[in-house]
């Protein structure tokens, strides 16, 4: 189980990567994360929605409501061109981060 402290910097990268493939909504995203990591990382409800808020404030994602069954609507999120740009930037950043950490812990196992 990964601590949420360690993951803090990468939550937006994870969300952006999911939205790169298709538009999605809160529960689907948190489910995808849980499934893909086989339950090793579970994004908390509040973490997810504060990340949405930050990303939307920076215009990296855009929300829209979509009608669902029984007349209810759901808030969907869509990545913006700016968000795609930010995704690739963060990807590079992640690779650099990995390299840096690797320098210290290589072969220590």
């Amino acid at each position: 189980m990964v601590t949420s402290d360690v993951m803090r910097g990468f939550n937006s990268l994870i969300i952006l990567s999911i939205l790169m493939k298709q538009d999605s909504y809160g529960y689907q995203i948190s489910n995808l994360i849980k499934e893909k990591t086989h339950g090793a990382y579970i994004m908390k409800e509040t973490t997810l929605y504060s990340a949405f808020n930050r990303l939307e404030k920076n215009a990296l994602i855009q929300s829209y409501s979509k009608p669902e069954t029984k007349g209810k609507t759901r808030t969907y999120y869509k990545i913006t061109p700016l968000g795609i740009e930010a995704y690739f930037e963060k990807l590079v950043e992640w690779e650099e981060t990995q390299e840096i950490i690797q320098q210290f812990v290589k072969g220590e196992k």
Partner: protein
């Protein structure tokens, strides 16, 4: 499912009730609901499902931070927050305030005593008889006026400083550390307060005894016995005022006694009501006096309104207190 709903409601209760927050809450509730039913489908028990859903909710502080929110509690406008420094400063000001007001009251009581003292001495020493009584009158009235002038100056000055705090009718809110430290100070102050009040009461009871005693020696016509009476009363009242103000300052800071949010709210309301009710009563008295010549009987309206007003104040205050208790 009710457990989950109640939990989310209770977490959102301190957040502003904006449409945005309402929507966020609904959205999160729906996610949690879906998660809950999926967990039940996988064969989890009700308790396990609820536990998992609640554990995966997270911390509302994250939301408040992301949305730049302040909790509702901090926005409450019938309370005002005091830091440790502000509380200390307020205490210092109130100590000066207490000393000033007590000294002013002391001067007002002793002012006529000084007048009587000078005139009493004039009668006592025949050697002074060469001075005309007019001169003595002037010399005894001037100190009286001076003392009252100083007292009024102190009252006005301190009253203006007190206004700077703009507390209005808001209760003071403290951090827990400041609160417990002030609570300790108040406990240490309590025995001193009790001693001072006791001494004040003793002085006031002794005052007429001293008056009677000195009349025995000086004769009934001499004003000096009144000087003794007034001096004892002045010391007693000084103690009441000084320690009374300090005590009420502790209560003010700790929001206890007459200074709880409910009591202050009731006081504010009763002041507003008084501003309307008493002028109306006076208007009715004057009007009915002119129209029906009821000058000698209609005054009854004043005690009646006064009593009704007192009943209203007491009832409203206890209503607010009960309501607050009900909430807790």
């Amino acid at each position: 499912m009710d457990t989950i709903r109640n939990y989310v409601e209770s977490v959102f209760v301190n957040l502003p009730r904006t449409p945005e927050m309402q929507q966020l809450k609904e959205e999160m509730l729906r996610n949690m609901e879906e998660k809950y039913f999926e967990l039940l489908d996988t064969g989890k028990s009700d308790n396990e499902a609820v536990g998992t859903v609640l554990a995966e909710f997270g911390n509302i502080d994250e939301i408040m931070e992301a949305y730049d929110l302040e909790s509702q509690e901090e926005q409450d406008d019938d309370q005002i927050y005091f830091s440790r420094e502000e509380a200390d400063e307020f205490m210092q000001h109130r100590t000066k305030f207490a000393m000033g007001i007590a000294a002013g009251v002391f001067l007002c009581i002793t002012a006529p005593a000084v007048l009587l003292l000078i005139q009493g001495l004039y009668q006592l020493f025949p050697a002074w008889q060469s001075v005309s009584s007019d001169t003595i009158d002037i010399f005894s009235v001037v100190p009286l006026l001076l003392m009252i002038a100083v007292a009024v100056g102190i009252f006005v000055n301190l009253g203006m400083k007190e206004d700077e705090y703009k507390l209005d009718y808001r209760a003071i809110k403290l951090e827990n550390a400041t609160r417990s430290y002030l609570q300790r100070e108040k406990q240490e102050f309590q025995p001193r307060f009790a001693k001072a009040i006791t001494l004040g009461v003793v002085m006031c009871i002794l005052a007429p005894a001293v008056l009677l005693f000195s009349m025995l020696f000086l004769g009934e016509e001499n004003g000096l016995s009144v000087v003794f009476l007034l001096s004892f009363i002045a010391v007693g009242v000084f103690l009441f005022v000084f320690y009374g103000i300090l005590y009420s300052t502790y209560e003010r800071l700790l929001a206890q006694g007459d200074y709880t949010p409910e009591k202050l709210k009731a006081e504010k309301a009763s002041e507003n009501v008084a501003g309307v009710v008493f002028p109306i009563a006076a208007g009715i008295y004057v009007l009915s006096g002119f129209l029906f010549d009821t000058w000698s009987t209609a005054w009854i309206i004043f005690p009646i309104v006064g009593i009704l007003f007192a009943i209203f104040t007491a009832a409203y205050s206890s209503y607010l207190t009960m309501k607050q208790r009900g909430k807790k």
